[in-house]
């Protein structure tokens, strides 16, 4: 096992710079997820670490060793591909053993390690089958087994669950998590699925257009997004952002004002962010010393089972609320305007120029 350090990493394809400046230190044994929309450079970063993509600029260290010029096999990494990339003409056993065979590991040792991996991943009854005779989840496990037997220093996962159906994705997610807990190997995992990122990661790295938008624990990222991009990218439905003004610790949205419990610098052009799940119809449902209220124009109400999905408009911006159906207020009858309540400690403020979060004054 080893730590991984990226230092000012860059990748250009011709004129296009895909990864612009990537600095990150991954601790030994840590599970880090690279999360971002398509084309943000997350897979490219992973592939540079794997050695499958040349590095345009910057350095990558695995442990203490600079690996920029090392061949993939010399880096002692193992990778699980989105397509699984199982060798179709080899049995499960041969697939798992292939890497060991290539690196001339002793036959008995290969047997032992394949058996260990197969037991751990419940692949033992499938060892003589060919990949085409396996289900998606089983193929995924074989791909993990193939990565595991090599006892690599770093595990790389490139969107490993995106070819699976939603139900299987959930159970495979749990398997990956438990595997990491058992093996404790440093892991870098690429995905565009925020649920995977939130559930698996020790730390999440959110990428946007080749830059790191934020690094933090899943809780940090959700509760304290560093900028508007992270705020809207994480959470479904996405966070409501309404243009506002900050004056004397008051947020002014059109005619409505909210008195904030903490002190802020004045800001003429900012955005107020409230998560749809933080909104209530009934102020008594909120346990807080500071409760805010906003009146929103209703555009439509949908029942999603556990919640009512209220779509509305506030100060010209879309404003969405997810209200638990257990809330005693009946929203289906609401038309025109609705009053929505929320904990003022849970609102977010962003500077509209740079998009960065505005933090309260410390004193």
């Amino acid at each position: 096992m080893a730590a991984v350090t990226f230092s000012n990493l860059k990748k250009r394809f011709g004129e296009t710079e895909v990864v612009k400046s990537f600095d990150l230190h991954i601790e030994d044994g840590e599970f880090v997820v690279l999360l971002g929309p398509s084309g943000c450079g997350k897979s490219t970063t992973l592939r540079m670490l794997a050695g499958l993509e040349e590095i345009s600029d910057g350095e990558i260290f695995i442990g203490e060793e600079l690996v920029n010029e090392l061949h993939p096999m010399e880096r002692n990494i193992a990778m699980v591909f989105q397509s699984y990339a199982l060798y179709p003409h080899m049995t499960v056993k041969e697939n798992i053993a292939f890497g060991l065979k290539m690196t001339k590991v002793d036959k008995d040792e290969i047997e032992r390690r394949v058996k260990l991996a197969a037991d751990m991943l419940e692949l033992t009854p499938l060892l003589d089958r060919f990949p085409k005779a396996l289900s998606g989840g089983q193929r995924q496990r074989v791909a993990m087994g193939r990565a595991m037997v090599r006892t690599p220093e770093v595990f790389l996962f490139d969107e490993p669950l995106s070819n699976l159906d939603a139900k299987l994705r959930g159970s495979m997610r749990a398997e990956i998590k438990s595997l990491h807990e058992k093996l404790g190997t440093t892991t870098l995992y690429v995905t565009h699925d925020q649920v995977e990122a939130m559930t698996l990661a020790d730390r999440v790295v959110i990428l946007k257009d080749g830059f790191i938008a934020q690094v933090g624990t899943p809780k940090d990222i959700f509760e304290q997004p560093a900028n508007k991009f992270v705020a809207t990218f994480i959470g479904a439905p996405e966070m409501n952002l309404v243009n506002a003004k900050l004056e004397d610790n008051q947020v002014i949205i059109g005619e409505q004002t909210l008195a904030l419990p903490t002190t802020y610098q004045d800001q003429a052009d900012c955005a107020l962010g409230v998560r749809p799940s933080d909104l209530y119809l009934n102020p008594r449902a909120i346990e807080s010393d500071a409760i805010g209220k906003l009146t929103v124009n209703i555009d439509g109400i949908e029942l999603l089972g556990a919640t009512y999905h209220i779509q509305g408009t506030l100060n010209g911006s879309r404003f969405v609320a997810d209200i638990a159906t257990s809330d005693e207020t009946d929203v289906t009858q609401e038309t025109g305007e609705v009053e929505l309540f929320f904990d003022l400690h849970r609102v977010h403020l962003f500077d509209n120029q740079e998009g960065n979060a505005i933090r309260p004054n410390l004193n």
Binding site: Y87, F98, G99, M102
Partner: protein
Amino acid sequence: MSAVESAEKIPAVSKKRSLKQRLNAKGYKWAPYLFVSPFFVLFAVFGLFPLLFSIYLSLHYGDATGGIDRMEFVGLANYIYLFRDDAWFHQSLINTGWLALASGIPQHVIAIPLAFFLHTSFKKTRNTVIGAYFVPFITSSVAISLVFTSLFSRDFGVINMILTQIGNVEIFGFQPLGWLFPTENVDWARPQYIKPMIAFVVFWRFVGWNTVLYLSAMQTIPKDLYEAATVDGAKPWQQFFYITLPQLKPMMFFAVTLTIIGNLQMFEEPFIITGGTGGIEQAGKTAAMHLYLTAFTEGDFGTASAVSWLLFFIIAILTWLNNKILGEKD
């Protein structure tokens, strides 16, 4: 006209002949068959009949041009004659086997690495290069054979000119390459040279075709497999042996089958290169040539038909064997 009126009128018309009745009429019933019949008629006359008639012929003796009633039923005598007594047939089979192997094996042994090279080393110019390799395949085999005949000509051929010039290089009165290269013009029509020459022409003609087949198969192998193998520590040559070759197996089966069928029926190249005679000592005579000469020179259609059926069985057996070796196993 009101709707009620028109509704009343329709049954009056259909009383004569409803749509269903009209479709059931004789003309309609037969029309589809009439429209598809040209193919079946032509196939029956020029495909199926000769095929079945050749079975009939192979069991008879006599000149078929003199009428069927002049032919005599001889059972398997034609086949027995071929097996036991027809030395030229035996020679032609040996020649065919020799030529099939000598031209067929290099076709694949060279086409696969060549395709791998084109696949990995060429990007923008790939299609032009493949096109160049493919040209011999779409060129008339007669033209090719004529060109090669003149290239291999004893007195005026370019090949003899080059070889003898190398062989005659003199350094201080010695000819250091004389032991390897000829110093006098070679008669390529001699029995020991004619087969390699034919094999070379056939190889040259089909290597591009096989390269295209293998290249197209290589392009379908997912890039991920090579990346996974790279991460697994496989060097490029190991990737070729462990990933590329096994993934080419279905295409190998197809390409080798085509080669077996094509090479065992080899006709144009040896026919033109040997001037239709089979060459000195029949060294360049293939089974297909023997068939042709037996039928159209000697007029023995019975034996010729037996040759064609024997050839069919040999091809069938070899294709079956090929299927056992390279075919999909499930």
